[in-house]
């Protein structure tokens, strides 16, 4: 089954600002990363998927339902975690999540049970009875995630879940999202402007820029390129490149670095031998994986 499918989806505001332009994409269930710079149209896409705003043109379907025709049916099966602060400071997490569970149609006792379950799954225990106003940013993000989970959706739409978190908090949140996607059997669409972040946990990646699709593909298809060795010498880069080419190694230049595909351990010996022969000062020699970021390097996505 196709999880999310759009066909020539376009959204313009006031006929002038284009948020989404002719976006056609289809993704299978799993963890989907939606990356793009701020203003690339990520939040607009999420709001269209929820049926909160109508597209200017094009078709969209979520879990096989058209959100423009039947938004309630979509929202019944989708959980949404907004980007911005959305928690009343004077309510406790338990009260808030229970209430929102009821708003999703859970009966009273079921809402209370599911609320404490959801809060437990995101790692909030006794503190759930304290007012949210006193929570750290990390705890607030967890409450926002719990309220999206409380009604047991089939799809979670997470808008910048790691926003405002420190590196450890980011890792914890990403681990949580990964667990939800793999162990809970719930598909997740994670929005982020940090590609390096979502590529660690996603099965599929959708990259958009200026409302246009850059690429949508299975992440393994994007990262299967072989590992490469990066060589840096303080001087004589040209000579080394020529020598390595003589040794039948396909060398690529990347600034001051020479990139050599890693075939086997023999590649190390060949490079070290060449450096020693030329008597060059070796600065570094290390292995690096192809990052998805390289696929979009020219777009400067990661710096947005």
């Amino acid at each position: 089954m196709t999880l999310i499918a759009t066909q020539s989806l376009t959204k313009t505001y006031g006929g002038r600002v284009t948020a989404l332009a002719d976006l056609t994409v289809a993704v299978e269930p799993g963890i989907i990363g939606l990356v793009g710079a701020n203003g690339a149209g990520k939040s607009t896409l999420i709001k269209i998927l929820l049926g909160l705003i109508a597209p200017t043109s094009g078709q969209v379907s979520v879990l096989g339902i058209d959100p423009t025709a039947d938004p309630a049916a979509v929202r019944n099966r989708v959980g949404y975690m907004p980007e911005h602060d959305c928690l009343p400071p004077d309510l406790s997490a338990a009260e808030l999540v229970t209430h929102l569970g009821r708003m999703s149609g859970l009966p009273r006792t079921a809402a209370r049970e599911r609320a404490s379950e959801a809060l437990r799954h995101v790692g909030l225990y006794e503190e759930r009875y304290r007012p949210v106003g006193g929570y750290s940013t990390g705890m607030k993000q967890r409450v926002k995630l719990a309220q999206a989970l409380v009604h047991d959706p089939d799809l979670l739409l997470l808008d910048e879940p790691t926003n405002g978190l420190d590196p450890a908090g980011r890792d914890a949140m990403l681990a949580l999202v990964h667990r939800i996607g793999t162990e809970f059997g719930i598909s997740v669409l994670v929005c982020s402007h940090l590609l390096g972040e979502v590529e660690r946990i996603c099965d599929t990646l959708i990259a958009i820029d200026g409302g246009r699709l850059l690429r949508a593909d299975n992440i393994s298809a994007m990262t299967t390129a072989t590992d490469v060795l990066a060589v840096e010498v303080s001087e004589g880069t040209e000579e080394l490149a020529a020598r390595l080419a003589e040794l039948k190694l396909p060398v690529a230049r990347d600034g001051r670095l020479l990139l050599v595909p890693l075939a086997d351990d023999g590649t190390y010996d060949l490079i070290l031998g060449a450096v020693a022969d030329l008597d060059l000062p070796l600065h570094r020699l290390d292995q690096r994986r192809h990052r998805v970021a390289e696929l979009f390097a020219t777009r400067e996505l990661t710096h947005a």
């Binding site: 959305c86 009821r102 990390g138 681990a175 667990r179 660690r200």
Partner: protein
């Protein structure tokens, strides 16, 4: 795929997350009507500060205390002197200031708080339609106001019914007096709830919302005052239309007659404009509700 979970344990101060597995929910999911009911009841509880901090309970219950005290006093005096000091409708009228302050506190509590905290996207990303949110809050506020006025009226009725000297016939007559009083209280509730909630829904700042509600209800009274001393009889008789409180009184005078004003004593004269007052009240409630719904079509999208 690298697993970032090694840092989870270090980050979570409460320790390792013990995974006893995620359970899918297989139970019933309620429909739109039950969700509306749940939101309505939640709003009604919020109006009286239930499920809220002690601070949020102070003002609503202060008002409830005062109106109850007045009702008990009226019932006690009546049982002593044997005739009513104030009819049920007159009681509702004389409590109008307290109703205004109750609205000024409760309406912001119901809607401004949600606007301020940005929680609305969490509601609107759920199946519940936006209009249901606004109508459930409106209905909750109207019910709260009706209970505020109707509860003490019921106390007065009980006091009268137990001290009547005419047996069952006395109780029956008393009941016939009570019912119009309860309807009149309902009119107060609907008019004040619709206008008050609309004003409060315009801002997320509770203090501004409360000030706005008081301003709309009280600042309009001087207009009534000016109109009622103009040298034109029609202007005088239509003056009450300018303010919600006098508008409600006008409808009361027209529909209840001597249950509200006895003979010539006090009360503004509305001449033959009773139906105009009734129509104005209906239009006011309908207009305020329509604007409220329009407001919630736009907000937080």
């Amino acid at each position: 795929m690298p697993e970032p979970s090694t840092t989870t344990a270090r980050q979570t101060p409460t320790g390792v997350i013990h995974d006893i597995g995620y359970q899918r929910y297989e139970g019933p999911r309620l429909g739109r009507r039950q969700v509306f009911g749940a939101l309505y009841l939640h709003g009604l509880r919020t109006a009286f500060g239930f499920g809220r901090s002690a601070k949020a309970k102070i003002f609503p219950w202060l008002v409830v205390g005062i109106v109850t005290l007045v009702a008990v006093a009226l019932a006690a005096i009546r049982s002593q002197i044997g005739e009513p000091v104030a009819t049920y409708a007159q009681f509702a009228d004389s409590m109008s200031w307290l109703v205004i302050f109750f609205v000024a506190v409760v309406a912001p509590e119901l809607v401004s708080r949600d606007l301020r905290s940005g929680v609305l996207p969490l509601y609107f990303s759920r199946p519940l339609p936006r209009s249901d949110y606004a109508l459930a809050k409106l209905l909750a506020l109207a019910t709260a106001l009706w209970l505020l006025l109707g509860g003490p009226q019921l106390l007065m009725f009980l006091g009268a019914a137990f001290t009547t000297k005419q047996g069952m016939r006395g109780v029956w007559n008393e009941l016939l007096d009570l019912l119009p009083g309860l309807l009149y209280a309902g009119l107060w509730a609907v008019v004040f709830a619709s206008v008050g909630l609309l004003v409060a829904s315009l801002t997320g700042k509770r203090a501004f919302a409360a000030g706005g509600v008081v301003a709309v209800f009280l600042m309009t009274t001087p207009i009534v005052g000016v109109l009622s001393i103009l040298p034109s009889r029609a202007a005088n008789e239509l003056a009450g239309l300018a303010s919600p409180s006098t508008l409600v009184q006008g409808v009361g005078i027209w529909s209840l007659g001597d249950l509200l004003v006895e003979g010539d004593q006090g009360g503004p004269s509305i001449g033959g404009f009773g139906p105009v007052y009734a129509l104005a009240a209906v239009l006011l409630v309908a207009g305020a509700t329509a604007l409220l719904l329009a407001r919630y079509r736009k907000v937080a999208s």
